[in-house]
Amino acid sequence: MARASVGRDAKPPRPVRIGCDLADADAVAESITAFGERYLSRVYSATERAQTGEAPVRLAARFAGKEAVLKVLRNSSDIRYDEIEIVLDAEGAPWVRLAPRAQQRANAEQLGPIAISLSHERGMALATAVAIPDYQPLH
């Protein structure tokens, strides 16, 4: 069987980008108690606050999600938390919505859409984010 030929100039595919983070709901509750609106408005968007009902464990999942996305973006030390939104679609599944500056960073890294998954149990929230580099949409 003949081997399929590979172009000499073909670049090896870049690895999939993945990031994960863990956040403590008690820490979020402490933040709300200590700093209230200043904490909430600094970290979460209006949509995130509405969709979570500002429940600490659900906010913790969003916080973990933002950190996970920052790890996927890399070189993202100047991206603010409120520039990364973890929002729910019509079916209740989370997805990542980036503000223009954060989207520019994703574009500069040539990343496709960032997928995200959230979970929480016993007061701890976990998030995992994944993006495919050199993404080419089918149509």
């Binding site: 956040a23 403590d24 820490a27 933040s31 200590a34 700093f35 904490y39 916080f63 100047d78």
Partner: protein, 87 residues
């Protein structure tokens, strides 16, 4: 050490003691200690930032809201000076 600098470092240490959730007493930490090596988390940096802002009447500019600002007491003190300069 000027009075301003002393007050800043005191505010930083108090914020870390109250909100840092570190695994060592803040009094045992040198100004250059890597805070992330003693249990500092990304979420705790938010609380410490807000506490310092409250204590000193400043606001950290966006470009300083990154990991390097929170890596040590010394780094936080420098960030405070920069924040004052941009007020």
């Amino acid at each position: 050490m000027s009075e301003h600098t002393y007050g800043d470092r005191l505010a930083i240490r108090e914020a870390l003691q109250q909100f840092g959730r570190l695994n060592r007493p803040v009094a045992e930490l040198a100004d250059e200690t890597d805070l992330f090596s003693v249990g500092f988390t990304s979420h705790a940096t938010v609380n410490v930032m807000l506490a310092i802002e409250d204590a000193l009447g400043i606001e950290f500019p966006d470009e300083l809201l990154n990991r390097s600002t929170f890596v040590s007491i010394e780094a936080l003190a420098s960030a405070i000076e920069i924040s004052r300069g941009q007020a």
